[in-house]
């Protein structure tokens, strides 16, 4: 419906915390509608910060972030009409589900968004019921969030965002700490939502699932630069790169086979960033 429309466009974006600590530097990036993108990097490389910037929770004076055709700024987010419309379209599932679940039971949690929109009760109930039955959460319906298991919490957190039907989903480490079965379920859901046209941006350091949750991977170095982007299989086959950004050690190999394909790996596109680390990709 929107074709190649660009959802996010970042130009020279940098971010430092008030303490002076750098979180991101010189990021150029764009995400098209309907894409499935993974932000890959070691702990502390700035992935979560980038998600918060994309969600308009943090703001920066270094560079510009264009979201849904609008440059994000503290001022525009302070506009009630814009911020409501924006937050309906861009949903954020936090890494710590505990942070996100504040209602006294699962039902209320999922209804929180729709209730704010002032929908009639019947409408809200329909949405909540749909989400609950889609995710098989029926037996948790009246349970307080803190009495859920880690995986259930993650699903409820996702459900509470989905009930707003966002076009873009930002997911921070969605699979960390989940058992294999729940992890598979979550991956399948992400895939289906993407097939339904949702734009998915996932921050992760889980290489095992990378190809399933993303078409394209964007790699961050530990010094907060974007050092590579390209199709997942190519990023994964570039062990030197992954070692360089401290995601894996030299012993690394994936436990399950992934489609290498017979063709020779295409060169990964290297975005310009002062040419400082371009040497990453020229294999010795």
């Amino acid at each position: 419906m929107f074709g190649e429309e660009v959802v996010f466009k970042l130009k020279d974006v940098g971010f430092s915390y008030p303490s002076g600590e750098k979180a991101l530097e010189g990021i150029n990036l764009s995400v098209r509608r309907g894409e499935k993108v993974a932000l890959l990097g070691a702990n502390g490389s700035g992935k979560s910060t980038l998600l918060k910037l994309l969600n308009g929770l943090l703001f920066t004076r270094e560079g510009t972030i264009e979201a849904l055709g609008q440059v994000l700024s503290e001022k525009i987010m302070a506009n009630e009409e814009f911020s409501f419309a924006f937050r309906r379209r861009v949903g954020f599932v936090f890494q710590k589900a505990d942070a996100q679940l504040f209602n006294s039971n699962v039902r209320e949690e999922i209804a929180f968004g729709p209730v704010q929109l002032g929908w009639p009760a019947a409408e809200v109930n329909r949405v909540v019921d749909d989400v609950i039955s889609m995710l098989n959460l029926d037996r948790l319906r009246d349970r307080p969030p803190f009495r859920l298991s880690g995986g259930e919490k993650r699903l409820v957190a996702l459900a509470s965002v989905l009930s707003l039907n966002p076009d873009v989903l930002l997911l921070d480490e969605p699979t960390s700490g989940l058992d294999p079965r729940t992890q598979r379920r979550l991956i399948r859901l992400i895939q289906q939502l993407n097939e339904a046209g949702k734009t998915i941006i996932v921050a992760t350091h889980n290489l095992e699932i990378l190809q399933e949750i993303a078409d394209r991977a964007i790699v961050f170095s530990e010094d907060h630069h974007l050092v590579a982007e390209g199709p997942c299989e190519q990023v994964l086959s570039n062990i030197d790169l992954l070692v360089q950004v401290n995601l894996v050690d030299e012993e690394f190999h994936l436990h399950h086979p992934h489609p290498h394909g017979g063709h020779a790996p295409r060169p990964v596109t290297v975005p310009p960033f002062n040419g400082k680390k371009a040497g990453f990709f020229t294999k010795p």
Partner: protein, 305 residues
């Protein structure tokens, strides 16, 4: 794995952002304010750590001596009857701040913004004879032959005295905390016989404040991220209540884990801390000097100026 049955409405796109029709600014929400408050705390603390790491007069003194001499100075400032003595103390603390490499702008901001300014506002009414009778100093308004609105001498004196006193006390405390790392500050308090158990608790509390602040900050951010419509004050209050409740649930779980971790590392119920660093000649010189200054100030306050 079976596919999820995605409901029809979830397949719909919301479409592009609508044009903005009103310029109604959302009030800075309670969630934003709390987030700002939390990050303000972390930032203040960060600056304090940086200043405490610099080389300077206060940084070089033994923490215990620093605590004791600061308490003496605060006590002396509390005892003063004369604005001159209080002015002198204020200026002297500024000198100490300068010699301790504390940026004066940060120091003055920390000291004056809030407590003394708040005090000025609070005592402002006592300037006037309608609130507190006294000898008129400046007559602002004369009505009738016997009635007037005036600033009184007692009011002015009391205000100057009070505000300078509050500022002096606050500056000494701020200087102490800006130039001392938290852990050392606490060890300093063991010198004035604060029981070890309290010091240990204070030390650990400080650490877990960070943990809980981050959790609470995340909760408010998550709330902000899902703010898609206006909510009544009551609903907002309910959110805050729920956040506090779930924070306590997290905290309680944390406390169990801390407890288990302490037990597994051989904790028996009596906390122990490392012993203090040694006192040196200069620390004693400083103590004697501060005591001398205090005597001069008290003597001068009551007898000379």
């Amino acid at each position: 794995m079976a596919d999820f049955q995605i409901p029809e409405w979830l397949l719909q796109s919301r479409g592009p952002l609508p044009p903005i029709t009103s310029s109604k600014k959302a009030r800075r929400s309670f969630a934003q304010k709390s987030i700002d408050g939390f990050s303000g705390f972390l930032m203040d603390d960060f600056y304090a750590e940086r200043i405490a790491a610099k080389k300077g007069l206060m940084q070089g003194l033994h923490p215990g001596i620093k605590v004791v001499t600061s308490l003496i100075l605060i006590f002396v400032a509390s005892c003063m009857h004369n604005w001159v003595s209080l002015l002198l103390i204020n200026v002297y603390v500024l000198l100490l701040a300068y010699l301790s490499a504390v940026p004066l702008r940060i120091f003055l901001k920390r000291v004056w913004v809030f407590v003394p300014l708040f005090t000025v506002i609070i005592v402002l009414p006592t300037l006037f004879n309608v609130v507190r009778p006294g000898e008129p100093l400046v007559v602002l308004l004369q009505y009738g032959s016997h009635h007037q609105l005036a600033i009184t001498r007692q009011g002015a004196q009391s205000m100057v005295l009070f505000v300078l006193r509050v500022a002096a006390c606050v500056s000494i405390a701020v200087l102490l905390t800006l130039t001392t790392r938290w852990a050392y500050l606490l060890r300093g308090f063991s010198m004035i016989r604060v029981p070890t158990i309290f010091i240990k608790i204070l030390e650990m509390t400080y650490r877990y404040i960070y943990v809980l602040l981050h959790s609470a900050g995340d909760m408010f951010e998550a709330r902000l991220s899902r703010t898609v419509g206006r909510m009544s004050t009551g609903e907002q209050q309910k959110f805050v209540g729920n956040t506090m409740g779930s924070l306590w649930t997290i905290a309680l779980g944390l406390s169990d884990e801390v407890h288990a971790a302490m037990l597994s590392r051989g904790y028996t119920g009596t906390p122990r801390t490392l012993t203090n660093s040694r006192l040196r000649g200069l620390d004693w010189v400083w103590t004697v000097f501060i005591v001398l200054i205090s005597i001069i100030l008290i003597g001068g306050d009551r007898l000379v100026w």
